[in-house]
Symmetry: C2
Subunit: 357 residues, 2 copies
Amino acid sequence: MSDLKKYLRPEIVDMAPYKPGEQPGAAKVIKLNTNENPYPPSPKVREAIVHATDRLERYPDPLATSFRIVAADLFGVSPDHVLCGNGSDDILTILTRAFVGPAERLRLPYPSYILYRTLAQIQGARFEEIRFGADFQLSPEFFVRSDKLRLVFLPNPNSPSGTMIDHDTILQLASSLDCPIVVDEAYVDFAPNHAVGLIAKDPRIMVTRTLSKSYGLAGLRFGYLVAHPEIIGFLRKVKDSYNTDAISIAGATTALSDQSWLKENVSKILATRGRMVPRLKQLGFDVTESHTNFVWATRSDRPVKPIYEALKAQGILVRYMDYTQSTAGSWGDGLRISVGTDGEIDAMLMVLEGVLG
Amino acid sequence: MSDLKKYLRPEIVDMAPYKPGEQPGAAKVIKLNTNENPYPPSPKVREAIVHATDRLERYPDPLATSFRIVAADLFGVSPDHVLCGNGSDDILTILTRAFVGPAERLRLPYPSYILYRTLAQIQGARFEEIRFGADFQLSPEFFVRSDKLRLVFLPNPNSPSGTMIDHDTILQLASSLDCPIVVDEAYVDFAPNHAVGLIAKDPRIMVTRTLSKSYGLAGLRFGYLVAHPEIIGFLRKVKDSYNTDAISIAGATTALSDQSWLKENVSKILATRGRMVPRLKQLGFDVTESHTNFVWATRSDRPVKPIYEALKAQGILVRYMDYTQSTAGSWGDGLRISVGTDGEIDAMLMVLEGVLG
C-alpha cells in the first residue's frame, strides 16, 4: 500500500516531523525537558473547569470573549486586539497560513523554536534561518530586506538560550523590514518586560502568548495573540471556528484573572533558577543568562549528549538540543534544563555530580 | 492603518469568512440551530474531566493514545488507524493541508457543509461544488475524474439534507477517482450504518467523526479520523503536536467507552424526530427523510426566511440555510431544525403553528 504516498502533497511527504519533547507516561521521572511549570495551576482554575462541565453539550463561544475581556484589561487594549487559540502553536499556525503563501518566505533566528521551520514546510513556504550573533543578539543580516519575505518569527525570550532582544531593536527591525513581525512571548512572564506596548507604535508587530508555561496549564492548550484589530479580523477567517473549547476558555480566563497566583509562582521559579545556575557553573557548564523558566547549559570540555543520556538513565529527563545540522550552519549542542521545584533541581544536580564524576 | 491588508495573503483578504451558527449567550433561547445534542453527556465524562485536572501543568499525550485504543477496539482496527483532533473541523483542516496544494482541487457535493469550501479557500486551492442529483444522491458528474483533483469531501449523512449515500456508491466513487475520499460521518451515530469497514476495501477511503453531536460534547472539541495507518503517519506531521488537550482526551475517551449511554441517547433523539417530522409535514413543510439529529424542512408555497425570523423573535432559534448563491447554481433555501428534547420540539411546533397561522 506504499503508493498511498502519491496522494499526499510532496512537501508533507518530504518534510521531517516536528518532534515535541518526550512525554513519558506515569513513570516516576523528574521531568525537566519541556519547560512545564513544576507547580499546579491556581486552584481557582479547577473550580472554573468543574463549573464549565455544566453545559458541554453546547458549542463554545467561537471568539472566547470572556478571555479576551480579561486579557484586554490586563494590557490596556480592546478585546478586538486579542485572538485566542488552542495553544500558541495554533496561533503560530494561523499566522503562517494567513501571511505566508507557497514559495514565499518566513524568517527566524537560529537556534530558536524548531516549529517555525516546520510551519513553513507544511505551508510549502521557504524559511530563512539566520544565525544569532554573539550573545544571542540579532545579526545585521536579520535586518536585511529579502525578496518574498512575508513574516518574521522572533521568540523573545528565546529558546533554547533564554535570552532577550530589547524593544528598540524590535522596533528597528520592524522599520527595516516590510512585513509583520511576530514576537513570540511564550516565556515572557519570567522576563523583566514585554512587547505588547510596541503594537501601538508599529501595528505590524504582533505578540503571541501561551498559558502553558507561567500559568501551569500546558495540559489545557490555550494561547493568544495580541495585535492590531484589523489583523485580528483577517486571522479570524483562518482559525477553526471553535478552536478553543468551553473548558479551556473557562480555565484560561480564570487563570489570567489570578495575577497574584502568577506573581507568586514566577517568584518561586526565579528563586530556584537563582540557586540552580551557580551550581551548574560550578559543575563546569557554561550557562547563558536566562530570562525564562529554563537554562541553556553547554560545555566545551566534553560532549553533553552522554550527560543527557546518563541523567535519563537515572530518571532525570532534560532536553538535549542538537543544533549542528541546519541551513544556517552549526551552532553546537547543549542541554536545555527546565526550572523545576527546589527538590527536583536538587535531585538533578546531585545525579549530575555523580554523572560528571 | 488600512494598508495592513497588503501583508495578508490575497486569498485570505478576498474570501468570505465561514460563519458558524449563532451561539446566543445565556439568554433563554430554544436552540435548534447547530445540531447540538439537547442532553448533557454521560455523567462519567464529568468525573473523567475532574480527574484530569490533577496534572494540568504537564503537556497532554500528543497522540491521545487512550482515546485511540478505545476507538480502535470499537471499530476492530488498530490504534494506528486513528488520528485525533480538536473537533472534526481540525481533522478536516489537517486533511486539506495534507492533500491539497495551492491551485489544486477538492470536490464537494452541493448543498453540504460550507466549511469545505472555506478550507479550500484558506489553502489557496480550488473547489468543485457539484450539485446533488434528485433525492440528494450523487450526480454522474461527481464520478468524473478532473485535472488536479486531490481530495473529495463526502458528508454522510449529509447536512443540511440528513440524507445518505450507500456504501456501494462510495466504493464505486473511490474506484472512479484517483484521489482520497473523506467520508465525513459527523452525524452517523443517528444513521443505520457507517463506512469504517470500507477503509479495508479501499485505503483511499477515510472516515471522520466528531463527539460534538451524538456524544453531547460540542463544548469539548474532539473529533477523529479513521484511515489507513500510512496516511495517519503523514497526517501526524501536519497536525499541531498537542492538538488535543488533557481534559478533552480524558472526556472523549470516557464518552466513547460509554456505548450504552450513546445507544440510549440516540434512541431518545430518534423518537423525538419520529414525532416531529409528521407534525412539520402537517404544517405544510416538505421534510427530507433524515438519518441525523436534524431535519431539512422546505416549502414551495411561501418563503421560509420570514418563518425563521418570526421563530427567532419568539426565542426559537433554527438555522436558515440559503443555497441560492453558489458556483453550482441555486438549490433554494430551507430551515435546518435540530432535534431537541420533546419539550423543546413541542414548544417550537406550537410557536410555528402561530407563525404560520
